[in-house]
């Protein structure tokens, strides 16, 4: 029986936290050097682009609702013939 890629959830969560950590690192770098921080730049951009930043807020909320307000749908057993990773890469390159 086909199964979902086992480390999938762990990798996705790891990537999310890596992004958050890199952001925090950039903030610390700016704080240490007393530069205008990334937050500061984003805030000033948002101040001058209210509609754009409002749109991004809306996208955040829509994505969150998409994740938590829909049920988990288990993967169907696939009727297609399995491919090796090399065949998959060739398929995508075509």
């Amino acid at each position: 029986m086909t199964q979902a890629y086992p480390p999938g959830s762990a990798v996705v969560v790891a990537v999310l936290f890596a992004i958050l950590w890199l952001t925090a690192f950039l903030e610390v770098l700016c704080e240490w050097n007393r530069w205008p921080s990334l937050s500061h730049k984003m805030e000033r951009w948002a101040d001058t682009h209210r509609w754009f930043s409002g749109g991004l807020l809306a996208i955040f909320f829509i994505l969150l609702c998409h994740f938590v307000l829909n049920p988990l749908v288990l993967p169907d057993s696939c009727q297609c013939s399995p491919k090796s990773l090399i065949e998959l890469a060739a398929d995508l390159a075509r």
């Binding site: 199964q3 969560v13 991004l56 994740f67 399995p82």
Partner: protein, 195 residues
Amino acid sequence: MRPPRWLTWLRDVVGRPLHAAIHYGLLIVMPIIGFPIVARLWSEELAKCDFGEVAYLPDWLLLIPALVGLAAGRYLSWLVPPQDYEARAHRELNSGAKRVGPTALVLASAALVVIWFYEAVGTAHYTVVSSVTGRTANFEPITYYIRCAIYHDKAATDFGFWTMVTILLFGFVVGHWFWSDHPGDAKENDSKVAV
């Protein structure tokens, strides 16, 4: 809305060090929260993510930490004195400071490329065979893995503690960046009105 007097006082006394502490603190908090979550997910049997008849999603309560995080991020800016906010904007930038913004954009764009590429593969539900173990596996969209992680969290903690913490963190960052509030001090604004 203006900050109340007690908060203005707090800001003037501890605002700068507290703001800096939050920045440094987040650098430590992220791995402390992230590593246990990833380690636990990696060790679980996630292949089917089948919890039988139990349905942990949809859950409206998970929107509450997002709203709390958004508000906390928005009003965190009250900890920065208004004159500091303006002073930093007009400070002469060295080459290092000028590189921060473009670096962040490059990292974000690279991450988005990887994410959308994987999302295309996952949405197509490709089935692959491992040449090492001979096992077959389906690639699924990222939403599947996120919901699967939420299910595991709720199964372990009843109400999904780590899910709420993660949503709170993201809401905080989004609120602080895109919905920040920078009111002037009451005295400054009153004097401007008088003039």
